[in-house]
């Protein structure tokens, strides 16, 4: 209960801060040198937050979609040949540092949101893929038996049995991806993506700790809220299939 209250308070604080950052100027006043602005005003914080969230949502949806399709394909008889390869690709995708991928994507895609999307997309493949694979393959043998006994076709089994049963672990994978992507997206602002990283970088360039802190704070609060939302969804999904 206290946890929920704290979360609600965090959400309210975040919304109030984004709606009217200047009312909170006093909070950041102790962190700045004389004559430095306490609140970032170059671009409205709410608009940076929106484009930051859009970028992360796009990347997470894309990597979830591709990882799910991959996981389903390599668990069908026709795609089994690709299983070792798919595992290698997703594992390497997560090993590559997002910053390096970001930098390498710049010559191909130019400055802007593109390189950030690619970096987040690659990094996000593994958690969803591995979890979906585990969810699709490590089901009790009785489940497959029962589905076959009921006369379900392979496609019906996938949609009505396998995927719903794998949903909680797939959501866990999405949660890991989303939280990491939120933080990593800030680096996108080094190559001109519009994210909250813009605020942090402006702070770094002008030695304004207030900027660094407010950028970091907004991202951090959103990350905690998203983390909790996914955990709630995971619990709901688990309850639906009779677990937890």
């Amino acid at each position: 209960m206290t946890g929920r209250l704290l979360l609600a308070a965090a959400l309210l604080f975040l919304l109030a801060f984004l709606a009217s950052p200047h009312s909170f100027a006093g909070l950041f006043q102790p962190l700045i040198r004389p004559n430095q602005p306490a609140i970032y005003t170059q671009t409205p914080l709410w608009s940076l937050t929106l484009s930051h969230l859009t970028l992360v949502a796009l990347a997470v949806s894309a990597s979830t979609l591709v990882a799910l399709i991959l996981a389903v394909l390599v668990t069908r008889p026709a795609g089994r040949e690709f299983l070792p390869l798919a595992r290698t690709i997703t594992a390497v995708g997560q090993t590559l540092p997002p910053v390096a991928v970001l930098a390498l994507a710049v010559p191909v895609m130019g400055f802007g949101a593109g390189p950030t999307l690619v970096a987040l997309f690659l990094y996000g493949l593994l958690p969803v893929f591995e979890n979906a694979l585990a969810g699709l393959t490590r089901q009790p043998a009785q489940v497959a038996e029962a589905a076959r006994g009921m006369g379900l076709t392979a496609r019906q089994r996938l949609w009505q049995v396998d995927l719903p049963l794998a949903l909680p672990v797939i959501l866990t994978g999405m949660r890991l991806t989303a939280v990491i992507s939120l933080g990593t997206a800030t680096i996108g602002s080094t190559v001109a993506a519009r994210t909250l990283g813009e605020v942090i970088i402006a702070g770094l360039l002008s030695s304004n700790t207030a900027f660094v802190l407010q950028g970091g704070m907004v991202v951090g609060i959103i990350a905690i809220l998203i983390h909790q939302t996914f955990q709630t969804l995971e619990r709901m999904a688990a309850r639906r299939i009779g677990l937890g």
Binding site: V92, L196, G216
Partner: protein, 380 residues
């Protein structure tokens, strides 16, 4: 003969690589360049083109994995040597400004061959020993290729040759950041994990704090460390003399250390919790003291999970250390961000490629170590 579907995929990528420009000639390091196909980029280009095409075509059929492995290795070496030769061939005699860099065709060929290689290795299901040898062989071969001078005319290595000293310094800084923060995290995180193992009530709060630390974006955490360390240097007597300062390696090192704490602490807990109660009771029944129980029984049994944390932290920190380049903390990130500022992509590659190579080698090597200890534990 039966078709091999992954082989078909590699052939398609490879074909695109053969058609697209192989190398790019630029009058100087900033200007845009023009592409040259494999056939035009080097004297025996046409022959190489046909050889590679034949190799990819062969890969479409189901052949023994060892044969595919050898073919992919040979082709990879040929492509790497070809880019070095193309750079020598395309650079006019005595022109020190002109740059030849790898173009899209080269990168696609590299991708196709590396995928083919990875697929062949995965199908061979090599033992730990063989995988270790393969990794060592790959590192040695890369070293030899770079040291041989065959690639010296390629643009990224030209960037290297004019800043050899700086490169070595930043490489040391990068390794110090990645391994130093790992060492600190183990030094602090292991005791915290063991403490929490005994004190269940503290687990929730401590893990929550570490979790929240993890949600702060790396860029902000690095940034917040700067004023904190400037303040420490200015107020704590002797700190400035000891080298503590708001700029330089300290803020980055501590930021990386803070990020590493959660994986170390939580894996220590998971590892210790994973030891079965009956094993623990048996050890206690033998009259082991608490430290003996921890050192002789619990830690050896938890070792695979602890090493898994080391893998996570190492790979994560080698990557995150790039960001230190943005706040003057050194490391390969210095080249990445300098290059992005000057839109000099060769310089970006000089920072990004070693970082990627380091993470891959560290990741694969740690996987081998984790698997090795897990297997030993099962046998014991």
């Amino acid at each position: 003969m039966r078709l091999d579907r992954p082989g078909l995929l590699f052939a398609l990528i490879g074909l695109a690589g053969l058609i697209l420009p192989f190398a790019e000639f630029k009058p100087n390091r900033i200007l845009a360049g023009e592409g040259a196909t494999l056939a035009a980029a080097l004297p025996l280009g046409v022959a190489l083109l046909f050889a590679l095409a034949a190799m990819f075509a062969m890969g479409v059929f189901r052949l023994p994995a060892i044969l595919r492995l050898t073919a992919a290795l040979a082709a990879l070496l040929a492509v790497l040597l070809a880019i070095g030769a193309a750079a020598r061939h395309l650079t006019p005699e005595g022109d020190t400004l002109a740059r030849v860099s790898p173009a899209s065709g080269f990168w696609l060929l590299l991708l196709a061959l590396v995928l083919m290689l990875a697929d062949a290795v995965a199908r061979l299901r090599p033992g730990l020993m063989l995988r270790g040898l393969l990794l060592a062989g790959a590192v040695a071969a890369a070293w030899f290729l770079l040291a041989s001078g065959a690639l010296d005319q390629v643009s990224t290595l030209r960037e290297y040759s004019v800043r050899r000293e700086v490169f070595l310094r930043e490489a040391r800084a990068h390794l110090l950041l990645a391994f130093g923060s790992l060492g600190l995290a183990l030094l602090v995180g292991l005791p915290i994990g063991m403490l929490l193992y005994g004190a269940r009530r503290l687990r929730g709060p401590v893990l929550s704090v570490l979790n929240i630390l993890q949600t702060i974006p790396s860029l902000a955490l690095f940034g917040i460390m700067i004023p904190i360390f400037s303040w420490i240097a200015a107020t704590v007597p002797g700190a400035a003399q000891a080298g503590v300062s708001g700029i330089g390696v300290f803020p980055a090192l501590v930021a990386l250390f803070l990020y590493s704490l959660l994986p170390v602490v939580s894996n220590t807990l998971t590892g210790l919790d994973g030891v079965s109660p009956s094993t623990r009771d048996a050890a206690m029944g033998l009259g082991l003291t608490r430290p003996q129980l921890l050192g002789w029984v619990l830690i050896p049994l938890a070792l695979p999970v602890l090493l898994a944390a080391v893998r996570i932290v190492l790979v994560q920190n080698i990557g995150l250390a790039v960001i230190a380049g943005l706040i003057g903390g050194g490391g390969f990130g210095t080249f990445v961000f300098q290059g992005l500022n000057q839109t000099a992509m060769d310089l970006v590659l000089l920072g990004a490629l070693p970082t990627i190579a380091l993470t891959l080698v560290a990741g694969i090597a740690m996987d081998l170590v984790v698997e090795g200890t897990a297997r030993r534990r099962q046998e014991a």
